[in-house]
């Protein structure tokens, strides 16, 4: 079956346009990227070409794999206009000026193929305005597709279909965006700013104005609005620095141009002289000469962080927030913060009370369901909870009472939620959301979406302990879920995996390893490991190493398919879990790596052995024992982490037959399907024999490491750890003519791990990782 969208085009090679093109390329679809021909240059495609070049260097990378850049065909509005005839979908992402956009649409009418679909990435211009003066045939094929920046990573896509839009066209784009681009599609209405920006812009402006009114230190403002409210720790000023302070007046102006006269945004806008002054000085944020925060390099190269004083507009040294209200949050949660009478508490209440009320007042007008608004704020602004989920967390009745006590009007929807005991409730395993009419509707999932979160509401787990659980996901498939902090693997999780292997055959045909945390697993629990090492519990540590090896080996040998379904980080022991699966169905945004050397040890849950086996079997490498060893060493010695599932395939963390799912919400369903397809198929056997280079190989690798030391790229402990890694990969004293068995490799992994884990510098690396999130370079 030919894909519905076989070829696409993006008009406008700015940050958004280029990013959208990259994501279409990531989905495997060829795409044209066009922009104007700038005056005075012979390179007519320079805008698109330089956008692609820039994206290839950007971090975080817009491309999931560098080769995806080849799917983008750069061009220009003049020479390549006629070529748009071969595109099924044309996304317009030019400057936010309706006349320019309409002019392009009129030109498109001359060339686009019949039935092709055109969409605009406008963030503020209503669809009705965009269509003024355009023929009905165009309107039928036109809609708004509003992406969030950066398009690869932000999962939200707001789609606005007008009254004239063909339903099939809107459905086709929604389906493509969902399956191929991996977006969560929210159907928005043709209202200013749609959902995310309508609330987000209000929140930002309100937070800015209140901060100035209260003259709160910006560090304090960011600290109370960040983590305590489940908002990224950049808070408000950090976020403005990140997105660019100069963007803010444009967004506000274009919103004001289309908002109703009585909209709440008009009432919260404060004095904008500070922002204007900053923009005039080039203080536009991280891309400029600094923003609300600024890093200054002192005489000795020491960096000092400065922060703007909102009252004076002058920089001063940044200081750590030390507010009683933050401590109140630490012990009493968000409520304790919001009622606190210090400046932090008053600020957080002022901003959040207004923002949540604004969202509640607007809800019926801007979305079909409050669940869509919550999803938009989660996926478009990275809030941990959307506004209505936030109110539920605080307690709707409590929130309504507090509003009343403060003399504020209680929006009807909030009053209703207070009566009903919240915006959301669970009935017979289904989650219902309050609607504006006073009823409660089940939250709709797109067809084919399977979520563990939903399954958990429908009944108890099959079995489990404090670290992991086993769920029945239907059709004879069970799901093993880790649910520790960061999904780190501890003894309980491994032991339960062992038990799972015995439970599954009783009533199930296949097993999926999956969870809905931000990360599949960050690997072994370092905190417990460090403590055990510090108190010299070597026997227990070695037993845990062996337990992991045994568990993963048993999993590989289990008489049913085991499919790993990772998303986010799959590091260390989490990666090794995947390496031992029958197959993997990975979310496109999966970051796999064996990063053990970063904390001063070697992979020892079979990771070295399996990587060696995979590279030895790779037909692209030259013959002989050394090439595979050298390749594995290259990958493992620098703790390489694949930046996407596609990259993980290059590194053989994933096998060629492993699947990739673009949409996070479809991962479990895809993994389940893969598992069912594998039922009854022969399982890949254990690696039979390893021909390894032994001491000569280690000597060669040591020479390479020595080069890094001389270049100042390797530390003394890197040398120690590399030597251990080389000893494992080369088979220690192996004779290149006599094969080693898997058991020998696993014994070597254990030996070298145990040798390194006693080393003070390894312990310093682990400690540093736990305390700062970064390994010590010692």
């Amino acid at each position: 079956m030919a894909p519905a969208i076989a070829k696409a085009a993006v008009l406008g090679a700015g940050v958004m346009g280029a990013g959208i093109a990259a994501q279409i390329a990531n989905a495997g679809i060829p795409v044209r990227l066009l922009d104007i021909v700038p005056e005075g240059t012979a390179k007519r495609n320079v805008l698109a070409e330089s956008a692609i070049a820039k994206m290839l260097k950007a971090d975080p990378a817009p491309f999931m794999h560098p080769k995806n850049a080849k799917r983008i065909e750069p061009g220009n509005f003049t020479d390549d206009w006629a070529a748009l005839a071969d595109c099924d979908w044309i996304v317009e992402a030019v400057i936010e000026k309706s006349d320019i956009k309409r002019d392009l649409y009129r030109r498109l009418e001359a060339v686009r193929k019949p039935g092709s679909i055109v969409s605009s990435n406008t963030s503020t211009i209503p669809l009705s305005v965009l269509l003024e003066g355009l023929p009905a045939a165009f309107a039928a094929d036109f809609l708004i597709t509003h992406f969030f920046n950066p398009p690869r990573y932000m999962r939200l896509l707001e789609i606005v279909a007008g009254p004239q839009t063909r339903p099939e066209a809107a459905a086709l784009i929604a389906d493509f965006a969902d399956h191929a681009l991996g977006k969560t599609v929210i159907q928005a209405k043709d209202t200013p700013g749609f959902i995310g920006n309508r609330i987000g812009v209000y929140w930002l402006q309100c937070a800015l104005a209140e901060a100035q009114a209260l003259n709160i230190a910006i560090e304090d403002a960011d600290a109370v609005l960040g983590k305590p409210m489940g908002i990224p720790k950049t808070g408000i000023f950090g976020l403005l620095d990140l997105v660019g302070i100069d963007l803010s007046p444009h967004v506000v102006a274009s919103m004001l141009a289309v908002l109703p006269a009585d909209d709440g945004l008009r009432a919260v806008l404060g004095d904008d002289s500070l922002i204007k002054g900053m923009i005039a000085q080039g203080l536009t944020g991280r891309k400029g000469k600094g923003g609300f925060y600024r890093l200054e390099r002192g005489a000795g190269g020491a960096k000092t962080k400065l922060a703007i004083d909102l009252a004076t507009g002058q920089y001063r040294p940044s200081r750590k927030p030390a507010l009683d209200s933050l401590e109140a949050f630490a012990t009493g949660g968000p409520r304790a913060l919001l009622v606190h009478d210090d400046v932090g508490g008053r600020y957080a209440w002022a901003v959040m009370a207004k923002t949540l009320c604004y969202a509640a007042q607007l809800a019926p007008a801007i979305a079909d369901s409050i669940a869509d608004i919550d999803a938009a704020m989660r996926l478009g602004y990275n809030w941990k909870h959307g506004p209505f989920e936030m109110i539920d967390r605080l307690g709707a009745a409590w929130f309504a009472q507090r509003l009343q006590a403060q003399g504020l009007a209680v929006p009807a929807l909030i009053a209703r939620a207070a009566q009903e005991g919240g915006f959301y409730r669970v009935e017979k395993g289904a989650r219902l959301a309050l609607d504006a009419q006073g009823g409660a509707k089940p939250i709709a999932r797109p067809p084919g979406v399977l979520l563990l979160d939903d399954i958990k509401r429908q009944g108890p787990r099959i079995a489990g302990n404090g670290s992991a659980s086993l769920w029945d996901i239907g059709d004879g498939v069970a799901c093993f879920e880790v649910h520790t902090k960061m999904n780190a693997l501890d003894r309980d999780a491994l032991e339960f995996l062992g038990k799972t292997l015995a439970i599954v055959p009783k009533a199930h045909r296949a097993l999926v390893l999956y969870n809905e945390g931000a990360n599949f697993s960050v690997g072994a629990n370092l905190g417990i490991g460090l403590f055990a090492a510090n108190i010299a519990l070597w026997g227990e540590i070695e037993a845990l190493v062996r337990l992991g090896q045994d568990c993963y080996r048993a999993m590989r040998a289990a008489p049913f398919p085991v499919v790993g379904a990772p998303s986010g980080l799959a590091l260390g022991g989490g990666c090794e879990m995947l390496l031992h699966c029958t197959a993997v169905q990975a979310h496109a945004e999966t970051y796999v790596g064996l990063v053990e050397v970063g904390v001063g040890v070697v992979p020892a849950w079979g990771g070295c052995a399996e990587m060696l086996a995979r590279w030895q079997a790779n037909p692209k490498l030259p013959k002989g024992p050394m090439p595979a060893v050298a390749r594995c060493f290259e990958i493992l010695a620098v703790a390489t982490v694949a930046k996407s599932a596609a990259e993980a395939k290059d590194l053989l963390f994933l096998k060629p037959g492993d699947g990739i799912t673009m949409n996070r919400d479809r991962l479990l369903a895809d993994a389940k399907a893969k598992a069912l397809a594998l039922v009854g198929q022969p399982k890949p056997p254990e690696p039979a024999a390893y021909l390894l280079p032994g001491p000569s190989g280690q000597a060669a690798l040591a020479l390479a490491v020595d080069g890094f030391v001389k270049a100042g790229k390797a530390t003394p402990h890197d040398v120690t750890v590399s030597a251990s890694l080389a000893a494992v990969l080369c088979g220690d004293e192996a004779d290149p003519t006599r094969p080693l068995a898997l058991d020998d490799l696993l014994a070597l992994e254990r030996r070298e791990f145990m040798r390194l884990v006693r080393h003070p510098k390894t312990l310093a690396r682990i400690e540093s990782m736990l305390e700062t999130g970064k390994p010590a370079r010692n």
Binding site: A322, N534, A536, E767
Partner: protein, 598 residues
């Protein structure tokens, strides 16, 4: 009453034979002269001073006590003269910097002298002891002007110091402090408030008293984060540096106590008194903790000194007192009865005191030497290791040594029977004097919480590593030595229990902190036993080596060491098993008991 004789032979054993401290110290910059030639005479002199000057004042000082008259505190007869001798002998500045007129000697040496003072006359020792704490806090946190003006006076002993933390409404919980500090234009501050339980807060031994006072600046954050440290002299020094005008510091009463009666425990009022900020505003706890940690180690040494005194008294009595016959065969058929030393239970008590005292002395010396080495040499990593170790062992030394001192004094009374209970023999005074050491500078319960809450959890257990890894390496190295098996094997078993208990406490701390807190005291006791056991294994090894080399006429000394080591391993260390069991039990039986049923 049995006169006190400093345990010089055992101190030398620890210094030279166990630790090789002379060799290690004299290898450090500035301490090239610190060899046995320098150390021995100092120890001998200190021993003589304690025997001849301080010990004779111990009983009389207790009987007479301090007197409070019209705002003035009079120390017991003879104390002023003894303090003058002490000061003139240079003992107050033993460890102070040369620049301040001190002798700049290692902590290890100062600690052994302290032990002797505490054995001979604990109440006396409190006066110079507090000055040492004040010196340490000021030397690290004070600015140059403060240091120049006050450190030489503390080093010479001309002036003494205090620590003013406690207030009527706040003891352990220093966040409740109310004493106020009002900054003045000249950079000083006016201090107003009432402090209680101030040891050496007022007395007639020195010309001036320097109070280190915790107080709150205006608008300081609430609780512990809003406390600053101030130096408040009793008399504000004039331009000539001599004590000048009185400074709004007044003593209104002294406490009537169970013990240490010759030590003045004062209620001190500060009324607009001039004070000087020490360290940064609102960072007073940092300086306070430095002083506090010094003080906690010093109190541990008090426990050690008291245990030694109890041992000497009890042994002398047990040799002389004749009652009953040894089971089996009489030991002195020529006498109407055998000395009570022959009775197993008396021997049990004496050996219990002795084994713990000698183990504690070695442990304290090891830590002091490590601190000396880190202070004079070594890189940053080495200093961090030692700071970790000292931080870890401070609550253990404070609590387990003072538990030991009190237990030893009580056993001393028990050995003596009714004669221990009357004043004449001085043993009951040791019990009363020892009792306070379990309370002040943080009760032993607070020490246990410090151990499990701060020290055990710090940096993923890094502090623990500084003790566990050396012990683990020692056990691994000696595992195959048959001559050491009788020491190393029980130690290895006890160490395993300490490892298990540590893991249990850490897990409890994550799941339910009150479970961990419920086992804290037992955990600390277990840790203390293993730490002493480590020293006992090394002491046994040292004694065996000395015997193998044929150390002439001292075979009895080494044989006694080995015998004490065997007693420790066989009779004291097994308690670790019971302690692990209670730690592992958690706090359920404590939590489940209804409050109203108490």
């Amino acid at each position: 009453m049995q006169p006190y004789h400093a345990p010089l032979r055992d101190m030398r054993f620890v210094l030279y034979e166990l630790l090789g401290a002379d060799r290690q110290l004299s290898a450090l910059p500035g301490w090239e002269e610190v060899t046995a030639d320098l150390i021995d005479p100092i120890l001998d002199e200190a021993a003589k001073f304690c025997r001849e000057v301080l010990f004779p004042l111990n009983r009389s000082g207790d009987e007479e006590g301090c007197r409070f008259e019209n705002g003035v505190v009079r120390t017991p007869k003879g104390f002023k003269a003894a303090y003058d001798l002490f000061r003139q002998g240079g003992w107050t500045g033993l460890m102070a910097a040369g620049a301040d007129g001190g002798q700049e000697l290692p902590r290890l040496l100062g600690q052994m002298v302290s032990e002797m003072i505490c054995s001979a006359n604990l109440a006396f020792g409190i006066y110079p002891g507090l000055s040492q704490g004040a010196y340490a806090a000021l030397a690290v946190h004070g600015d140059e002007a403060l240091k120049r003006a006050y450190l030489p006076k503390l080093a010479s002993g001309d002036w003494t110091g205090t620590m003013c933390l406690t207030e009527p409404q706040c003891g352990t919980d220093l966040g409740l402090i109310r004493t106020r500090a009002q900054p003045q234009e000249d950079g000083s501050a006016r201090i107003t408030g009432t402090k209680i339980f101030i040891s050496a807060g007022e007395h007639d031994l020195a010309d001036n008293i320097l109070h280190l006072v915790l107080a709150r600046l205006p608008d300081a954050p609430k609780g512990i984060k809003g406390i600053s440290l101030f130096l408040v002299p009793k008399f504000v020094p004039g331009p000539d540096g001599r004590p000048g005008r009185p400074n709004g510091v007044a003593c209104s009463a002294i406490e009537h106590k169970m013990g240490i009666n010759a030590s003045a425990t004062c209620v001190i009022h500060f009324d607009d008194a001039t004070g000087y900020l020490v360290g940064e505003p609102n960072k007073g706890m940092r300086a306070m903790f430095r002083m506090m940690n010094e003080a906690r180690l010093a109190v541990g040494i008090q426990g050690l000194g008291l245990a030694e005194a109890a041992y000497q008294g009890a042994v002398a009595y047990a040799r002389e007192r004749q009652q009953g016959r040894a089971l089996g065969k009489p030991s002195r058929p020529d006498l109407p009865a055998d000395p009570i030393l022959v009775h197993p239970d008396v021997r049990r008590m004496l050996l219990t005191i002795r084994a713990k005292t000698e183990g504690a002395r070695a442990l304290a010396a090891w830590v002091a030497l490590e601190m000396d080495k880190a202070a004079r040499g070594g890189d940053r990593a080495r200093r961090e290791e030692t700071e970790d170790l000292a931080a870890l062992l401070t609550p253990i030394i404070k609590a387990s040594f003072t538990d030991m001192g009190f237990e030893a004094a009580n056993l001393g009374v028990q050995v003596m029977g009714g004669h221990g209970y009357i004043r004449e023999h001085g043993m009951e005074q040791l019990v009363r004097d020892a009792r306070i050491t379990l309370l002040y500078e943080g009760t032993n319960g607070v020490q246990a919480l410090d151990l499990i809450g701060r020290k055990l959890t710090a940096h993923g257990g890094r502090f623990l590593r500084r003790f566990f890894h050396p012990l683990d390496a020692y056990l691994a190295a000696k595992a195959g030595d048959p001559a050491l098996a009788e020491f190393v094997q029980p130690l290895a078993k006890a160490f395993g229990r300490l490892q298990q208990a540590s893991a249990a406490i850490a897990l409890q701390g994550l799941k339910n902190p009150s479970d961990a807190a419920a086992g804290a005291a037992d955990y600390l006791r277990l840790f203390g036993l293993v730490a002493m056991g480590f020293q006992w294994a090394r002491m046994a090894e040292t004694a065996l080596a000395a015997l193998a080399e044929g150390q002439g006429g001292e075979a009895d000394f080494y044989q006694a060491k080995l015998a004490t080591a065997r007693f420790f391993m066989a009779r004291l260390l097994p308690e670790c098993g019971a302690l692990l069991a209670t730690v592992a039990e958690g706090g359920k039986t404590l939590a489940d008991f209804p409050d109203r049923a108490f």
